[in-house]
Homo-oligomer: 292 residues x 2
Amino acid sequence: MSVPPWLEEGRAWSERALERFVPRADEPPGRLHEAMRYALFGGGKRLRPALLRLLCLELGGDEEDAVRPGAAIELVHTYSLVHDDLPAMDDDELRRGRPTVHVAFDEATAILVGDALLTLAFECLTGDGAPRGLEHARVLAAAAGSRGMVGGQVLDLGLEADGAARLDALEDMHARKTAALFGAACEMGAIAAGRDAETRGRCAEFGRALGLLFQAVDDLLDVTGDARTLGKTPGKDAALERATLVRALGLAGAKTRARELAERAQERAAALSLRRETPVHELVEFVLSRQA
Amino acid sequence: MSVPPWLEEGRAWSERALERFVPRADEPPGRLHEAMRYALFGGGKRLRPALLRLLCLELGGDEEDAVRPGAAIELVHTYSLVHDDLPAMDDDELRRGRPTVHVAFDEATAILVGDALLTLAFECLTGDGAPRGLEHARVLAAAAGSRGMVGGQVLDLGLEADGAARLDALEDMHARKTAALFGAACEMGAIAAGRDAETRGRCAEFGRALGLLFQAVDDLLDVTGDARTLGKTPGKDAALERATLVRALGLAGAKTRARELAERAQERAAALSLRRETPVHELVEFVLSRQA
């Protein structure tokens, strides 16, 4: 399926949002800022900030109030990719169709680029005049930390003795590694729209359901995708003997599970009482059927 | 000189502050939390949070309001040590007298421990009921990011073409790498005490002066210190051909420069209008004459 118009719109909006907060390459230290920009401006889909903006708008909020949280969530996502690609982690040389940061620059720079992007996310959220910065930062930090995204990464690398041998352990890993940040994106959309705790909670649930679906499709694409479309190396999970949905359930079983997760996400979407339901439903279909 | 009583008091207080916010080792993912605790609870001097608390108290603030910012600044400092010690960075095997995190665990875990500690700093500052969390987070993020600590690290690794060949370039690197976080510690002490922008600015200036002194003494100790007292490997700077004050000015010149920096810090301290001046003056003397 083609990219929905609001996603294309959200992508362009995200580029502008990031431009507002990322230092220029000629500001010292220039090599660091150049490498940060290389990591950031490499043609990402900007799914998380686009999602945050979409929910903010459909909940009646103002696009401008989504700019800082939108930039911040993409900064956190990008830092996690830069660190995940490092030799000591996934050891990946290709990302979004280009050499990864440690290949294009060097390993020390890649470590520091990740550190700087993560820090910049919180600088961006708490800058002068940032509305609801404290709430945004609280939600983002909880989702990105040791109980969320970083914790999921540790589980994914098989660094925990128990690993992800069973389906429930696997989906717990996915919940932390991927779904926590999707949940934060949606909750931050509701915060940007000034909505109450109940709506925020329902948005977070929808986001987590969408994140589980996104990760299931990621596991499938690692088997069925090709490098050119993916912009990264497929077959890595099998090569690294990672626990994936395909490994746990087989290809057919993983496809069935992805459809189940898409249905659950659609149910959660229906519970959001949005102005218009169509874009969010389209979004779920897009995440289910994406090829990259 | 012996450790001043208020620093010993601040150290014990910092341990309790950290305990309140760092997950227990039995909370999943257990290996990650165990490694985070290994990195944190290894006998650090806790100079930055002790300094933050001291300024908060001497400016008439409440110790309790310094707990979250104190823990946060030590979390950021510790994450930077864990990443600096990595093989791709300083490649250090000894820290605070024990194997570094990537030696005691593994490299991937050390990268993720650093990421998690940095994220936890902002979770800690923005948690429910955190007073002045937005201001603390703003100051800390600016000091720790690409224009501050991380930028200084890039310069220190000689990753920038210009490097730190001249004394002014060297002290610009020190200002970012070390002094920015000392400045943040002192400014956060003033924020915790509820003081105005002028006092905050003067505290930040004092902190930056103290940080330059601290780094000058660090450069000296790398030449004159021994591994047992230092708890880390001396002679690293020379081995790595790093730009240091000793390399730029010779040993005698570097000692003279350290005394000049101590005098400047004392002047800045005198401008703070504290309840009592003695502890802060003692602190400057302690940083000048420290052996570890």
